[in-house]
Amino acid sequence: MITLDNVAKSYGAFQVLKGCSAEIGRGEVVVVCGPSGSGKSTLIKCINALETFEGGQIWVDGMAVRSAQTDHSALRAKAGMVFQSFELFSHLSILDNIMLAPRLVQKRAKDEIREHAKTLLRRVGLESHADKYPIALSGGQQQRAAIARALAMKPDVMLFDEPTSALDPEMVQEVLQVMTELAREGMTMMCVTHEMGFARQVATRILFVDAGEIVDDCPAADFFAGRCSVRAQAFLRFEADHPG
């Protein structure tokens, strides 16, 4: 589904990504973790070309990301993204937020989009909030709406960039629950997160990133059983001592 082949990126002299390679198969749930500033967010944003990179290549369902011929719009329709701070369009109602891209980008029939949007809102438990504006919703509700907005494009893979980091503790669970259901339904997911509980429960694989390198790439069970690098073990101990 996604192939990372030696992806490298620099900001001037600072190398954010030092040749990252990984393979993510259909239906896999891959959690990307690692210390702050290690490049995990940058890496995930390279996949849908929100960030450019100078070295290596990324393939999404056979499409090369770093290529002049690639239709970025088509690429992004395949990969839905959820952001740390939700980024709902503040001037549009929740329903319009969800319907905008399917209408403008995929040019699907309006009735079908509306039905699909309402189904998605029901799925994330927000059907009664369809006509509200983002400001009237709590952080957790906004993030669930943002997930519905990404799903409205019928993506093949969902990318999550620290989806719960900006949330109050009591709202983290409601978002994780939606993500867990999504994973159970077989959605291919790649998720940057510090939620080790979620990783333990849902992830099929863990990528541990440190200083721009993928240090560990192993099944979640191995990772949490301590069969990982020394750096990752230190990270795990730290996260265990500082939950949330």
């Binding site: 992004r76 001037h91 980008v105 995929q106």
Partner: protein, 243 residues
């Protein structure tokens, strides 16, 4: 000669000649504002462009039209265009001058608005596959517009009065018509008081209109659920919208 003539004041206040002058002022303001806004939008977008081929002409435009007096610009248009064999009415020259001048100021206001649109929402729109053009029209412009309504209101208010500068190229708007009557009938205070009253009426009408526009644009940004309970100060405004 008496100091103040109420009779003169009310005569001028009811004078169709002066009233039509005021209508011309409103007309010039409306047309120049709309055209200046569209031109200003184009210049603002050009000025924000990464490409120097676009940003430099825009920077030059703003530099030039903000750096020279409107009065000079009007005279150059009025006296210069006929030499190029372009003959336009005084009204057309006035509107061209006001539009070109206003666009330079509006471009800076619009640019500030565009800069204030959250970059995260632009990234989200990109991640959903929207094209740069779609992002501009669907996300950036609507949000920027809401942010710039107060300074835009300043511009409309200013322009209502700035139109009087077109009297130098003999445009017969409110101020010029008042001056014409002054030269004939010498009631300086009475006439200019009437003119001032008209300007006040026009700016007041705009104040009301601006509040309506602002109220409409702020709709998505009111917390409908809590407005009545949490914010008693906004109660009269928000309750009529709360569902």
């Amino acid at each position: 000669m008496q100091i103040w003539s109420w009779h003169g004041f009310f005569t001028y206040l009811g004078s169709p000649y002066i009233f039509r002058g005021a209508l011309i002022t409103v007309y010039m303001t409306a047309v120049s504002m709309v055209m200046g806004f569209l031109l200003g939008l184009l210049i603002a977008v050009m000025k924000r462009s990464q490409r120097r081929l676009l940003s430099w002409p825009a920077r030059f435009y703003v530099w030039f039209f903000r750096g020279t007096p409107l009065l000079v610009q009007l005279v150059v248009i009025y006296a210069g265009l006929p030499k190029l064999d372009i003959r336009l009415s005084v009204m057309a020259c006035s509107i061209i001058g006001l539009t070109l001048n206003e666009a330079a100021y509006l471009a800076e206001i619009i640019r500030a608005g565009l800069n204030a649109v959250p970059t995260g929402q632009i990234a989200a729109a990109r991640a959903l596959g929207l094209s740069e053009r779609q992002i501009a029209w669907r996300i950036a412009f609507p949000q920027a517009f809401r942010l710039i309504i107060p300074p835009l209101g300043n511009s409309v208010n200013g322009l209502l009065k700035t139109t009087s500068v077109t009297s130098v190229i003999s445009m017969e708007e409110l101020m010029q018509r008042s001056q014409i009557l002054v030269q004939d009938q010498f009631m300086v205070l009475e006439l200019f008081s009437v003119a001032a009253l008209y300007y006040l009426l026009m700016t007041t009408a705009w104040d009301f209109l601006q509040r309506r526009i602002e109220h409409y644009a702020e709709r998505p940004y009111r917390r409908q659920q809590q407005s009545a309970a949490v914010d008693p100060i906004e109660l009269p405004v928000t309750t009529q919208d709360a569902r």
